[in-house]
């Protein structure tokens, strides 16, 4: 069916709204039960699709098809507790559901009308089981604007999106508004690019619209490449139409007729959902020739990237779209002047686009109500690392890191101590505890040596070594560097080599100065954002955790016990019961011992796999500094020495 005007959209909304209404906690009087199965990548990977099939089979068996509907939905963000299944009415939130639990769910919940207590979310502090999603603190503490449809609608059904006022703003825009008016609203809203740099979106649109060249293009950057970041993926998987709608609005504003979504091939679910969404939008006349019966044409093509991190940089992305090697080029000219095929091109990130329809629907004044002085609206973050509630959250700009980590994120598991939080992925910095109460926006993060980036957050606990962490990120950026400019190609390699040296215990104090100097030069001299931000993990850890570096260099110890070159496993003789389990577990044959005598680990043979640690019933195997072990070895005092003589001496 072709949609030709707002009336058609409204009719569709009428038709589907009752179902949506129920999912939002209202009565709909239909007497239907709806089961929403999370089908985001995270839950898919924990077999949510098997749950879906199992549910369908089970309902069939019990003849419940008439009254119960099962459908896919997007990510709710509580990935730690997936796979997630929600049942409406009641907004009952079942977590960690397994395919074999489906029988019980159907029997107890649907047939008997009782909650399946054991599958409900259990609150950490109180141990209480909480049935409704509305009472779970993780959700209560958030402000879901961009993610408003994720977990609510079926992303594979355009009509459900329309029922959530979808495509209404597009229709309003092309039927009733001039491009300038729309751009003005976007500008006034204060929306800034969510890809990381925070460039004012309205200004970008204005610049591209002002170009007197045709054709123009609209591009969506869905090349989310930070390790541990999955905001854009979740939006594309949960609410793909919001991006399509925004791109069509953008095209109308700047005068483009063709759009490209550059999405990585590693996001198969997102790609599939986008393909379905584009297909449905074309069928209904919301993409293609003559949108909504007007003369405005706009279509979107997908471009699959091979997963190079640098392709998230806009000029590299443009090259990749055109089939060339993904390498950045100097700007100016900016993509707004010369982009795809040398023509003016508007590039925005997925999350930026996802903000557009709602801003236009609810007005810039409303949107201004969220955020800080310089940064308006909300931000989606993905939480990963040493945090209880790994997942996806959305909070207003200006929320403090403490709220994010300890309130919403639930803090660090295992009672471990918080050490730092890494924001902005490999391009960001590590923020220590003292800045946890800062309200975060683009500027405040920059001030403390990190960046907003696309919104990945990785929590670091006392178990992590900051030098090792910097090494990890440098390994990533060095591997992902396109190799074009000298500082990034060679400079990051040299940084990495120095960091490796330090983690292996061969660092010199002088290396710290070279690290710093070189990092600053790389930041200054690199061609693109990747190189310019690559030293951030080094610079921030050097500035906030210098003592850890010094411990590695001077004392040749790794305080967190991570750097394998700097510690050795030793047997605590007091605790050892000489059971011999450790020796059996050791594949390297490094552990020897005799009955009733403490076992010993030969540091020369030990590969530090920690298999013995896992096997020891008495926690008698402990990490000691390598230096200590060597001293002991020389003195022949302590266990763990390799030579026959020293053993004999004992």
């Amino acid at each position: 069916m072709k949609i030709e005007n707002i009336g058609d959209l409204k009719a569709l909304k009428e038709k589907h709204y009752p179902l949506i209404k129920q999912r939002l906690g209202h009565r709909n009087g239909l007497g239907l039960t709806q089961i929403m199965v999370c089908s985001g990548s995270s839950c898919v990977s924990t077999e949510s699709q098997a749950i879906l099939r199992e549910l369908e089979r089970e309902l069939d068996e019990h003849g419940l098809n008439e009254n119960v509907r099962v459908m896919k939905t997007g990510c709710l963000g509580f990935c730690q507790h997936g796979p997630v299944v929600m049942v409406h009415p009641g907004e009952i939130f079942y977590c960690r559901v397994k395919p074999e639990d489906v029988k019980e769910l159907v029997q107890t919940h649907l047939l008997e009308g009782r909650l399946v207590e054991r599958m409900l979310y259990q609150e950490d502090l109180t141990g209480k089981r909480i049935p409704s999603i509305n009472d779970i603190h993780f959700f209560k503490a958030q402000e879901r604007i961009v993610l408003q449809n994720c977990g609510v609608i079926n992303p594979e059904d355009i009509e459900e999106y329309i029922a959530r006022d979808g495509y209404h703003t597009l229709a309003d825009a092309i039927l009733n508004k001039r491009p300038g008016e729309i751009i003005d609203i976007i500008s006034k809203s204060g929306l800034r690019g969510r890809g990381g740099a925070g460039f004012p979106t309205g200004k970008k649109w204005e610049m591209t619209a002002a170009q007197d060249v045709t054709p123009k293009y609209v591009v969506c950057n869905a090349d989310e490449g930070d390790p541990g970041a999955f905001m854009d993926r979740s939006i594309l998987e949960g609410d793909p139409h919001s991006v399509l709608e925004a791109m069509a609005i953008a095209a109308y504003c700047i005068g483009a007729n063709q759009g490209y979504i550059y999405v990585r091939a590693e996001y198969p679910v997102a790609v599939e959902r986008l393909e379905i969404a584009i297909g449905q939008a074309r069928e209904t006349g919301l993409l293609g020739k003559g949108l909504l019966g007007t003369l405005f044409n706009f279509d979107i093509e997908l471009r699959l990237g091979a997963g190079a991190f640098v392709c998230g940089e806009e000029t590299a992305l443009l090259h990749s779209i055109m089939g060339a090697r993904g390498e950045p080029r100097p700007r100016p000219p900016y993509p707004a002047q010369e982009g795809v095929w040398g023509k003016p091109t508007l590039i925005n990130n997925v999350e930026t686009y996802a903000n557009i329809p709602i801003i236009l629907r609810r007005g810039w004044e409303w949107y201004q109500g969220y955020g800080t002085a310089t940064t308006k609206g909300t931000k989606v973050f993905s939480l990963a690392g040493k945090i209880k509630n790994t997942g996806l959250i959305e909070v207003p700009m200006g929320t403090s890191l403490r709220t994010i980590v300890f309130d919403i994120g639930g803090g660090i598991p295992g009672g471990k101590k918080f050490k730092a939080i890494q924001t902005g992925g490999p391009s960001g910095g590590c923020i220590p505890e003292k800045f946890l109460d800062r309200p975060i926006d683009y500027e405040s993060l920059k001030e403390i040596g990190s960046i907003m980036g696309s919104g990945g957050m990785i929590v670091i606990s006392e178990d992590n070594c900051m030098v090792d962490l910097a090494r990890f990120y440098l390994e990533f950026t060095q591997d992902e560097s396109c190799g074009r400019c000298t500082p990034c190609r060679v400079g990051t390699k040299r940084l990495l080599e120095i960091l490796k040296r330090i983690t292996e215990g061969h660092g010199e104090m002088e290396d710290l100065d070279i690290l710093e100097r070189l990092s600053l030069d790389i930041r200054d001299a690199s061609l693109c954002g990747l190189g310019q931000t690559a030293p951030n993990p080094v610079l921030s850890t050097l500035s906030y955790f210098r003592d850890e570096y010094i411990a590695h260099v001077r004392n040749k110890t790794c305080p967190a016990g991570v750097c394998k070159g700097l510690f050795s496993y030793q047997v605590d003789e007091e605790k050892c019961i000489a059971c011999g389990l450790c020796a059996k577990a050791c594949a390297a044959g490094a552990i020897s011992g005799a009955p009733k005598q403490p076992y010993r680990i030969d540091p020369a043979k030990c590969v530090k796999c920690a298999a013995c640690v896992a096997k020891c019933p008495k926690e008698a195997i402990v990490k000691g500094s390598d230096k200590e072990a060597k001293i002991n070895e020389n003195a022949g005092i302590f266990s763990g020495t390799g030579s026959q003589e020293s053993r004999a001496a004992l």
């Binding site: 396109c482 190799g483 000298t486 400079g491 390699k493 100097r517 200054d524």
Partner: protein, 631 residues
């Protein structure tokens, strides 16, 4: 013969002019560089604007109009944007009205030094034994920046050196990833052999799958060698083999020099670009011990005779047209790879130095009573493609390899230095006879437009009995490097066209493919023709800021002056040519001519090293030296 000296030679309007009307009035802008307000042309980048004002910004990856990608980061300058000083690559940053630039602040100097140190930390620094020692842009910049130690040390690439083909050596361990080879190969020559492979530190600029150049559609033109700032790309040197032959008392080593050598060799001994050093060149070769010193210009005249007759024959008998010139082996290989359906259009003439070799081992050997087995022909060529051409198995129809060794202008200069010859003090000497006698037409073979002009002069004379007026070319639709003209031959108006640089050749050939009609076209692989050949002098020292490309114009002018100064300006008037037809060949296109002076061509495909259709689509391993062993 004395080296002709000219103050300002007469202006010769010839087809080959590289830059047509370069003095376009550009709009001016004003900007501040290092506190000085300067004027620059609108559209210039900061590096050019500074250069025009006498401020030199060091750079490595920059190649004017060809590679302005800002990747080496050596040309960084501070630009004031909204009150902040931002580092920008001056080669890629446009000079705009009111811009404020600092090219030598402490920060700029520090970062620049770091960049060069980083490059050096991954560069095999064997300067003293390097072929580009004292002529290396990286070495030069390191010296200028006063780099005395390298703070950054670490892994250094250890990749095998590709030196198995007969023309170009690739040493990845000296590559600084400036991408100039890639740019010139793809943007100017449009051959696209090179691209970046791998990522990060492991990035290399190489042919697909890091194959040897002999295994890909490389046309062996050597423009990449000219573009390379270091010794990562160099000609395959064969000086030692030439020395060995010269030492051998049993051998008669006969040398021939290509037309353009006489106008470029001087550059390597401190002469102004465009100085004609023919007499000293001959004297130097004699002192090196060559048995006879001949000129390829002679066989260039012969080529003109053969090709002019071929053109007339094709016109008369209605054979395939257009006739495409075949004297540039780079272009020939280009056609073999990319336009195999036009191989029948190529003139069957061998290139002049191969004709020369064939005649030396037959005609000259017979005349002098020498055993051809004992003759070694050495060709001094501006060209790496001729190294490849000499190794073609079909170049030996006289039962002997036509040309034994091809050495470039650069290699000859090295030989002269090795022999301790003070080039500048040499007297002017004349070529030996008979194969050293040449007309002005032979000389202009060395620059674009020369071949066609010479051939048409002769064809015109042959058909009308009159000498022809100066050809008046029109630039083809704004492509400099692609021109056309109309000539009347045998009462028929024929259309001739010229292209230099295979990028332009591609444009011309694509128009042909699209159905456009030409009768005769001259195509040279290198921009500017042989004066811009891949074997010509390279400027890597601080005195020469511009790359060799900019010198081609002056060199071409020098060839024009030689032509202009000669009494003998038509190939058909060359007495030695007349004589060789009388005594040996009979007439142009005779059976003897066809046997010795003509050749055939082989379609090679666009991906010769791969067999996509074959078993498992595996690498076919077609290596040049399998066909013809390189000793």
């Amino acid at each position: 013969m004395k080296t002709p000296e000219f103050s300002a030679g007469p202006v010769v309007r010839r087809a080959g002019q590289l830059y047509d009307n370069p003095e376009k009035k550009a709009e001016k802008i004003r900007l501040t560089i290092d506190g000085r307000e300067i004027e620059a042309d609108k559209g210039m980048n900061v590096l050019e604007a500074a250069h025009a004002a006498g401020i030199e910004i060091p750079s490595l990856c920059y190649l004017r109009h060809i590679n302005e990608i800002g990747s080496c980061r050596v040309c960084l300058v501070e630009v004031e944007i909204k009150g902040a000083r931002v580092l920008q690559a001056s080669c890629a940053f446009p000079a705009t009205e009111g811009l404020v630039v600092h090219t030598s602040s402490a920060r700029v100097r520090r970062v620049r030094k770091t960049m060069v140190e980083l490059l050096l930390s991954d560069h095999h620094r064997e300067c003293t034994t390097c072929i580009r020692n004292l002529n290396c842009e990286l070495q030069n910049i390191a010296d200028n920046l006063g780099i005395r130690n390298i703070k950054y040390t670490g892994e250094m690439k250890q990749l095998p050196i590709h030196n198995k083909n007969s023309f170009i050596v690739r040493d990845y361990n000296k590559c600084i990833k400036c991408r100039r080879c890639e740019a010139i190969c793809s943007k100017v020559q449009e051959v696209n052999v090179y691209s970046a492979i791998n990522r990060g530190y492991d990035t290399v600029i190489a042919p697909a799958f890091m194959q040897d150049l002999s295994q890909v559609a490389c046309i062996t033109c050597g423009q990449c060698v000219i573009a390379c700032p270091t010794a990562s790309l160099t000609e395959k040197e064969c000086i030692d083999s030439v020395w060995e032959a010269l030492e051998d008392p049993d051998k008669y080593v006969i040398v021939q020099t290509a037309p353009s050598i006489q106008v470029t060799l001087g550059e390597l001994f401190g002469y102004e670009v465009g100085t004609v050093v023919t007499g000293k060149l001959v004297a130097a070769l004699r002192r090196l011990g060559f048995y006879k010193v001949f000129s390829t210009d002679f066989t260039a005249d012969l080529t003109i005779m053969e090709e002019a007759h071929e053109l007339l024959e094709r016109l008369e008998r209605g054979y395939k047209l257009p006739l495409l010139s075949s004297c540039s082996p780079g272009w020939v290989k280009f056609a073999e790879h990319f336009y195999p359906e036009y191989l029948e259009n190529l003139s069957t003439c061998k290139s002049p130095h191969e004709m020369f070799g064939a005649l030396t081992k037959t005609y000259f050997a017979g005349k002098q009573g020498l055993d051809p087995e004992k003759i070694v022909v050495v060709a001094i060529m501006p060209c790496t493609a001729k190294k490849f051409e000499a190794s073609r198995p079909e170049m030996g129809t006289s039962k002997f390899k036509d040309v034994d060794w091809v050495i470039t202008t650069r290699e000859l200069a090295r030989m002269i230095r090795q022999a301790g010859i003070n080039f500048r003090d040499l007297p002017d000497e004349d070529y030996d006879t008979p194969m050293g006698i040449a007309s002005g037409a032979g000389a202009i073979f060395g620059s674009t437009g020369g071949v066609i002009e010479a051939a048409v002069r002769t064809a015109y004379y042959l058909t009308s009995g009159r000498e022809m007026d100066v050809l008046d070319y029109e630039e083809l639709r704004g492509f400099s490097g692609l021109k056309e003209a109309w000539v009347e031959l045998k009462g028929r108006r024929i259309k001739v066209a010229i292209a230099h640089g295979t990028g332009n050749a591609r444009k011309l050939m694509d128009r042909l493919r699209a159905g456009e009609q030409f009768d005769y076209a001259e195509i040279m692989a290198c921009p500017g023709g042989c004066v811009g050949g891949g074997g010509q002098p390279i400027f890597g020292t601080r005195e020469h800021k511009e790359i060799s490309l900019d010198y081609r114009h002056n060199r071409a002018d020098a060839l024009d002056r030689i032509d202009y100064s000669k009494k003998l300006r038509r190939a058909h008037e060359n007495p030695a040519v007349k004589k060789i037809y009388e005594e040996f060949l009979g007439r142009p296109l005779s059976d003897m001519s066809k046997k010795l002076l003509h050749t055939y061509f082989t379609p090679r495909g666009e991906s010769p090293g791969f067999d996509f259709g074959g078993e498992k689509g595996r690498f076919a391993g077609h290596v040049e030296e399998n066909l013809h062993p390189v000793t």
